[in-house]
Symmetry: C2
Subunit: 354 residues, 2 copies
């Protein structure tokens, strides 16, 4: 066993979780800061046309980052294996009960990324277990649609991405390319524009803004000159993005520059969704069909009087009045588990019809 004793619990333990013998599914949400795995019983899902509320989650486990771009392949692989083992152990189940696993992992941008992770997971489970690897945005979409891959998800946290599926399975994405490549609607993008506004105001290229006092106070600095050293002392995007609440506060207090930055971010985020909707023709031929837009991430969740998420929806509605905004009631790992179940059902159905 390459990853220590993570599967030692399987030796001789009784099986409690898989009470009906119909097996379990695992859903994994692998993000930039943490990785979550949930274990759901297959029978409960199978037995209802409508999903039970609340969902019968057998177990939940949390571990660190599993983005191979950040922590390297070996650490990412070990994190994924460990979090799945812990969820199975906690649920009183084991690998022989697993029917399907779906992993939504950040940093999966190509089929090469997908195949590499599939290969890691293939070595862990018995051959009959169905495995699915997707970008973490796909799990986030499924968390809003309860497993159905239709519509568009918009994630705006430290980064931002829009990812969508048509009913026929076609998919498209916009943004998600990082700060150098223009994710201006992201938390990082908003905060970097605010820092820039402070520098421009200081050196005479821009008008005065409340952002100067607000940001200097938050960071404990005495002059905008010191922002240069602060910015380049640590390349972490999340450290910059953490300044978004200052921008929202200044905009709420009536600051023109902060307001412009947020208006610009709203337009950028709406443009990401519109690009996906248009390419997939989610609004139908007449442009009036309804489609879900799942809204995820700190930038969209902050429910202040300057509500970025609400403004994004308003902006999308000007083009697509029938858009149906959704705030997910479950976490992305559950979305991944529901995807695993859906993929499994689809394959069984296809088998039956052959």
């Amino acid at each position: 066993m390459r990853n220590g004793d993570v599967w030692a619990f399987e030796d001789g333990g009784e099986i409690r979780g898989d009470v009906n013998g119909s097996g379990v599914v695992l859903g994994v949400d692998g993000g930039a800061t943490s990785t979550v795995c949930v274990c759901l019983p297959l029978l409960a899902l199978l037995s209802a046309h409508k999903l039970p509320d609340p969902l019968p989650v057998l177990a939940r486990a949390v571990s660190g980052c599993s983005n191979h771009n950040s922590v390297g392949e070996s650490a990412a692989r070990n994190t994924l294996e460990q979090v799945m083992a812990e969820a199975l152990s906690k649920s009183g189940s084991n690998r022989s009960a697993v029917r399907a696993v779906c992993l939504g992992v950040s940093g999966v941008n190509s089929s090469t990324d997908q195949e590499r992770i599939l290969k890691w997971i293939r070595d862990i489970f018995p051959i009959h277990v169905k495995l699915y690897v997707r970008n973490d945005a796909v799990a986030a979409l499924a968390s809003g649609t309860m497993g159905k891959l239709h519509g568009c998800v918009l994630i705006a946290g430290t980064g931002c991405i829009a990812y969508g599926f048509a009913e026929d399975g076609r998919e498209a994405r916009a943004a998600g390319a990082g700060p150098v490549l223009g994710d201006w609607g992201s938390g990082y993008g908003i905060a970097a524009q605010a820092l820039t506004a402070v520098i421009r105001s200081h050196d005479g290229r821009g008008i005065q803004t409340m952002l100067t006092n607000s940001i200097l106070k938050t960071l404990g600095l005495s002059s905008p000159d010191e922002l240069i050293g602060w910015t380049y002392a640590d390349p972490s995007w999340a450290r910059i993005a953490a300044l978004v609440p200052e921008v929202v506060s200044c905009a709420e207090a009536g600051d023109q520059i902060a307001n412009e930055i947020l208006v610009n971010a709203v337009q950028e985020l709406a443009l990401c969704v519109k690009a996906v909707v248009q390419r997939l023709c989610l609004c139908g031929e007449d442009g009036n069909s309804s489609f879900p837009v799942v809204m995820v991430g700190g930038v969209l969740e902050a429910n202040k009087s300057w509500d970025i998420g609400k403004e994004v929806i308003k902006y999308i509605q000007t083009s697509y009045p029938a858009v149906h905004p959704i705030k997910p009631q479950v976490e992305p790992a559950i979305g991944a588990a529901l995807l695993a179940w859906n993929y499994l059902m689809k394959e069984s159905e296809e088998k039956c019809h052959r």
Copy 2:
């Protein structure tokens, strides 16, 4: 001696360079990629109201990076000491002949930075040697004005900065804050906007552009998706900035997006100069006084049919018709040496008048 045997040449060698016994000055230009030191005889400079052409450069030495933010303090200090020792040795002179040293070093953004480097250099030279430490933009300005600190310099290479002096000694700068803090007129800024345009065109947020084929071909990539991996594989700003020629070529071929990016860069660079001119009132009370603007760096030097430097001047002229653009005929290290001489003369004059 802390820095090996760099001063060993002084033991028992004859003095050839300082033929008149009036001493020499050293000028150092410490940049992000290399450090240059030149040694000039003081007499030749003293004896002429008009500077001799060509300048009697006794020696020139080149070493690596001396930006303490990049290579650390110890390496930066050793590089500076080594390059000065080499220039003195090559000139057939030694430290006892040095009257003044001026260092223009990148990364000097505060009096703390200045004092740290002064302390290093103070330990190297006899106590009577006059020492001056400035941002490398100051040496670049002096290279265009042949030592006079009046007017504004605009540097646009990988980064960009505008730095100016009024006749009364007041100084001001704009930009020079790096890519996160909005140096959009820099080579990095131009290239990052071009890469962003390729991604936006690819995912449906932007119109088609020739930049896509041009940049993918230059980088040997087959799809815009691969740009994400390429961009984050190496954080070097210079690697991104190296794409500027592709943007210029596409603009010259009539590409709308490339043209817009360059027009935007021109406006940003002109705005940097205008901010400095306005704060220092370089154009006089009536706005019609002449003042020099020294133009330095690869982005301004590229003498193509789409000439960024020429357009920047045109743009500045709309506000300040009497602006006097200068392309330096000597390198920044010579500018630093002329500054050393000017500072020295000023101090001698002040002494005489006491």
